[in-house]
């Protein structure tokens, strides 16, 4: 009788209302948020390479940042974005940035402004934000070919010629490094396909966990100098910038969102793996004979 009910329970478990799964997931995610803990992790080669490419920049160089993410991918990419901004500003590297995502400007520019303020950087001379450009691949092509023509003015309408930081940069090729913070399309893949090959640009990027694997071939083919993918990548980057190699002028932020997030991820993954495991156990103990 007990056996029978156990059997039945297993059968039911396989077809349980998915809201139970949602509840479980919610709990798994909430725990590390409510009771933060730290866990050890090492840094992937690809993340280290991305970090190194920034480190290798000569002082006073100017990089181009394409910040193409939206609130949805914010948890994964914002930590990287913040960390790389810290890294660049502490190195006195200047920034020209823009975005191809319509939803990005209100998100990415305030962050840049905030961190710039921390390091006392000035808009126009140390960094600038050219705003959103529609056209996706076409826009990338156009930026690659002629930056001022694509962005005659910045997001506030200031002519690009009046921004000292952007002065003299005609093409993407003129930047020693391009940093792509990319949540999907258009993003890293399009930059690689449209302009990297043609102009032999040096690029590093951060991608979401979902699209990260897509870019591995580019990294392997040296078309990307480095790549950080997903929350773990962001956390590793934070670790490099804030914990392992802090520059003396670094201003530590209050929270390291990536490192916190990776703990959430930790439990989330464990929860899913557990679910899969239990699901299979239930399936194999209850499946009728002869069914494949």
């Amino acid at each position: 009788m007990l056996l029978l009910s156990a059997f039945e329970w297993l059968v039911r478990f396989q077809h349980m209302d998915r809201r139970w799964i949602f509840l479980g997931m919610a709990i798994a995610i909430a725990i590390p948020m409510l009771f933060p803990f730290t866990s050890e992790f090492s840094v992937d080669r690809s993340v280290k390479d991305a970090w190194q490419a920034v480190e290798d920049l000569p002082e006073g160089a100017t990089v181009y940042i394409s910040a193409d993410f939206d609130p949805g991918s914010r948890p994964e990419l914002e930590p990287y974005y913040r960390a790389v901004l810290h890294q660049l500003f502490t190195k006195d590297v200047k920034i020209v940035s823009a975005t191809l995502w319509p939803a990005a400007p209100p998100l990415v520019f305030p962050i840049m402004e905030e961190i710039a303020e921390v390091y006392g950087k000035e808009y126009g001379t140390d960094y600038c934000f050219l705003g959103f450009k529609d056209g996706k691949e076409l826009a990338i092509k156009s930026i690659g070919e002629n930056l001022p023509k694509t962005y005659p003015v910045d997001f506030q309408g200031t002519p690009i010629g009046d921004l000292p930081v952007a002065r003299g940069f005609k093409q993407l090729k003129d930047f020693p490094l391009i940093v792509l913070v990319s949540a999907g399309f258009p993003g890293i893949k399009e930059y690689v396909l449209q302009v990297q090959g043609q102009y032999e640009l040096k690029m590093v990027g951060a991608a979401t966990a979902v699209s990260g694997p897509d870019y591995i071939p580019y990294y392997k083919a040296h078309q990307l100098a480095g790549i950080s993918s997903g929350m773990p990548g962001s956390a590793q980057y934070e670790k490099l910038v804030f914990l392992e190699h802090p520059r003396e002028n670094l201003v530590h932020p209050e929270r390291l969102l990536g490192i916190e997030g990776v703990n959430v991820l930790n439990l989330g993954h464990v929860f899913i793996v557990l679910l899969i495991f239990l699901g299979n156990v239930a399936f194999f103990t209850t499946r009728p004979k002869g069914v494949e």
């Binding site: 998915r18 000569p58 006073g60 160089a61 939206d70 949805g72 991918s73 319509p102 939803a103 996706k136 070919e145 002629n146 023509k149 009046d162 000292p164 002065r167 003299g168 940069f169 005609k170 093409q171 090729k173 003129d174 020693p176 999907g184 399309f185 090959g197 043609q198 102009y199 032999e200 979401t208 979902v210 699209s211 694997p213 897509d214 071939p217 392997k220 083919a221 040296h222 078309q223």
Partner: protein, 462 residues
């Protein structure tokens, strides 16, 4: 079974480090090896002309330079770079010139400024002000508006080596106009002599790589015609059955029986994306089938232009099927061009109008799983297809059928049953055979150090 494992093995081979590292690496270097050098500055000439170039600056500019002269006390000139070459890139539009120079060995961290003039005497125009020392090449676009302003036969270039602190002084002097700035910089920096370059427009790219690409396009086209011709002569073309495609018609049938509409999502990318194009083509066939079943199809679009085209295509489908009166324009809907808003809107349609069959074909991103799971909860038959590798796992997990990669491009041929279309599938299959063969040859050649094969293909990629 065997075939599957062979494929797996092959895929593993494909990913072998040898291939991964050797394929599209930075082998483009060989491209311009034998480029015609138009002007070569030699060391001695450079030294001689050093001051002359500066002196020959137009008088107006000299005045501007003189304004800043006062604070120029502690700037020490650094030697100009040597060996400036100006060449037209080999297979070029005729608007670009490649500059290349060697920094003078005596200086370590000079910044470079590139200037251009239409005659050796100037007037000089600053092309780029601040190049870091590690940059020793520059590609200049000679004309912004060639159609109206024309392109000259010759342009002259000089590269200035800026001493440290010079730019800061220019800034201090508030020299914002490029012409003034350059005059100032030119006055305080050493420069290479003016080197002439002739932009050379090419009408046909004849590099090996491009020929190879043309060959592939022509072969696909040729094979397509050949197979089409065979099909016309009644030769049967065998094509593997793809259950997912058969399922489309089944899904339409299910919707008909249930008295519910079919939902069709042509991805969320722009119209020009080939996946969107493929999806719109399929939509034509699907809507024809839907019309034959006298059922309804709801199309939700993320891009207004896609909606317009989809609407036309659906209308044509109904027309073709002989039920032009059953077409309803309001069933092809623009939802939002914002990804998740679109996703939420489409989910709303799934939950409220309860389509019996959801077809997702095209380019999808993060919304894929959200759509597919909602459809699953609604108990719809779901058929997905995308060439977007990142989204395939989600579709496979949540949909009844998933068309993987190229299968998406085969659907319209399958559905229409048009022998000409089906035969074009055969043509691309043969090209695939060719690709597989090239990969194997390339991998082997690469492993045995025969780089030229690899380079052949690398060139094609650029």
């Amino acid at each position: 079974m065997t075939a599957r494992w062979l494929t797996l093995l092959f895929l593993l081979a494909l990913a072998s480090p040898a291939f991964a590292d050797s394929a599209p690496s930075d082998a483009a270097n060989s491209d311009d090896d034998d480029s015609s050098v138009i002007g070569v500055g030699n060391d001695s000439a450079g030294d001689d002309d050093d001051s002359a170039a500066g002196l020959e600056a137009p008088p107006g500019l000299m005045e501007a330079a003189a304004v800043a002269e006062g604070s120029m006390a502690d700037v020490v000139k650094v030697p100009a770079p040597t060996e400036l070459t100006v060449t037209a890139p080999k297979h070029n539009s005729g608007l670009n010139l490649d500059l290349s120079w060697t920094p003078h060995p005596d200086v370590e961290a000079a910044r470079f400024t590139v200037a251009r003039a239409e005659s050796p005497d100037g007037p000089w125009e600053m092309r780029v002000e601040d190049l870091t020392p590690d940059i020793t090449t520059y590609t200049d676009k000679v004309a912004e508006d060639p159609l109206n302003k024309g392109v000259r036969d010759q342009y002259y270039y000089r590269v200035l080596a800026l001493p440290r602190g010079l730019r800061a002084q220019a800034d201090e002097a508030n020299l914002t106009k490029p012409a003034d700035r350059f005059a100032f910089l030119d006055a305080h920096a050493n420069s290479t002599p003016a080197i002439a370059g002739e932009p050379k427009g090419v009408w046909l790219n004849t590099s090996v790589g491009f020929l190879l690409m043309a060959l592939i396009v022509l072969t696909v086209g040729g094979l397509m015609f050949w197979f089409t011709d065979r099909a016309r002569k009644g030769k049967e073309v065998f094509i593997r059955r793809i259950p997912g495609i058969d399922a489309i018609e089944e899904g339409i049938g299910r919707a008909t029986e249930m008295g519910k509409p079919v939902l069709y999502v042509p991805g969320i990318d722009e119209l020009q994306d080939i996946q969107t194009i493929a999806s719109v083509l399929i939509l034509g066939e699907v809507s024809k089938k839907v019309a034959e079943y006298q059922s309804d199809i709801i199309v939700t679009c993320c891009i207004p232009l896609v909606r317009e085209v989809a609407d036309e295509v659906v209308k044509a489908g109904y027309y073709q099927a002989g039920y032009p009166d059953a077409y309803r324009s309001t069933n092809t809907r623009f939802i939002s061009s914002e990804q998740f808003a679109f996703c939420a809107g489409t989910n709303g349609i799934i939950l409220r109008e309860k389509p019996a069959t959801n077809i997702y074909l095209g380019r999808f991103f993060a919304e894929s799983l959200i759509l597919a799971e909602t459809g699953f909860v609604n108990k719809s038959i779901q058929i997905a297809g995308t060439a977007e590798a990142t989204q395939l796992p989600f579709f496979i997990a949540a949909c009844d059928y998933t068309l993987i990669g190229e299968e998406l491009f085969a659907v319209s041929a399958y559905l229409s049953g048009d022998p000409r279309l089906v035969s074009s599938l055969k043509a691309s299959d043969w090209i695939k055979v060719f690709c597989v063969a090239s990969i194997i040859v390339g991998t082997l050649a690469g492993s045995f150090g025969m780089d030229f094969v690899v380079q052949l293909f690398t060139a094609a990629g650029h």
